[in-house]
Symmetry: C3
Subunit: 166 residues, 3 copies
């Protein structure tokens, strides 16, 4: 894929990512990650200082599935709709590794801004969180999988109400 | 058009759609639809249950024009600015019908997330609604027209202040 | 570049623009403009009436650098995070000048919707402003520079808290 194709492909993946969470199809959300993926939801203050503390941390697909199971089976929370708007990715600093090594997987970095809105029953829609996805994508045949997604959010006040992944 | 071209073409159409409404050029908004188009603005709760009740329902271009006329001539409301942000489309489940039949029009489905902000005179900007466009596009020469747009919004509390189309 | 390429290129430039401001790399922000660029942040009411009054006005790269210096050295304000979401551009009315004249620079117009969120320490994220970028881009080798960006915002109530450029 060329640079333009990759840019568009990341947009498509992010649209599918948003649709999976917003429609409640969390199994599809899990399938967007590599087996060894890292998913974090972390306040920006921690991320920028290099502190490890995160509101959600999943290492590997097993932990992603556990999170989904918890949301669907064990967590108690008020029903809500979420709505993601994800910007076009910033790939101007994308590094494409292993370009010379045909046998190695190709990996690239990008970042995108997001806003997630939340709507509770008979309530007005509110901002749940804004922030930045800091991503590492891995080629998988013709597509891309998330090897790493750090959902770095701007406010420290979100965690209590964080049920679904950002 | 290839898959990539269609993805970009839908983004362009959505940008033009937003610009038509936000600039007040509602005649241009009407021209984005097919003659037999369906336009709905509907709360998600109704849409997901298959209930027909919608806040705005226009069947065919005539009813779209009537709606525009009502906004411009007969409805009484506080002046306001609207501002749409529309995400990249989710076309991963796009079905392209009639691919084998050269004479038939080509139709495809997509969905996009939206947020519409509203600003009244000397008021801070507020969220009017978030939601999802559930669309059916029809090829029209080199371009695309909306055969169906269901603007499914997340909160039940929006209708009273819904003047312009979402 | 073809029409599709330009559309994607503008999206990329806007993603880089947002990243520069949101990450605090204001030097990179300045480098997105031509030497003689005009940057305005202006309420929509003024813009639509053709009134010149603007909340921020920078004519030329020197004034952009002065603004950055003011933010970094002399302005006193509460620390805050900003977060831009910029829509796909509306280039349906793009005019490409001087197509016949190989020696002249190529210039094109577009507009994009934006929302800028703001987060103060231990505060919930809020809408700072929504609005429209009215842009003139200039070709620069393989890339695009901003010859003019009018950040036209919808509410009159934003100016007091406008520190970073929209």
């Amino acid at each position: 894929m060329s640079g333009f194709d990759l840019f568009v492909e990341i947009q498509k993946r992010n649209a599918a990512y948003a649709a999976a969470i917003n429609s409640g199809d969390l199994a599809a959300w899990v399938e967007m990650f590599t087996d060894d993926a890292l998913y974090l939801a972390q306040p920006r203050e921690n991320a920028d200082r290099g502190l490890p503390l995160a509101t959600i941390r999943c290492e590997g697909k097993g932990m992603l599935r556990d999170r989904v199971l918890a949301i669907q089976k064990t967590m108690v929370f008020t029903p809500r709709y979420t709505r993601h708007i994800i910007s076009a990715p910033n790939v101007s600093y994308a590094r494409i590794e292993s370009e010379m090594v045909n046998t190695a997987p190709q990996v690239l970095s990008s970042s995108s801004n997001f806003v997630v809105f939340q709507t509770l029953h008979m309530q007005p829609t509110q901002i749940l969180a804004t922030g930045e996805y800091r991503d590492v994508w891995q080629r998988n045949g013709d597509g891309l999988l998330l090897k790493e997604r750090r959902a770095v959010f701007d406010t420290e006040l979100v965690p209590n109400s964080l049920i679904y992944p950002l």
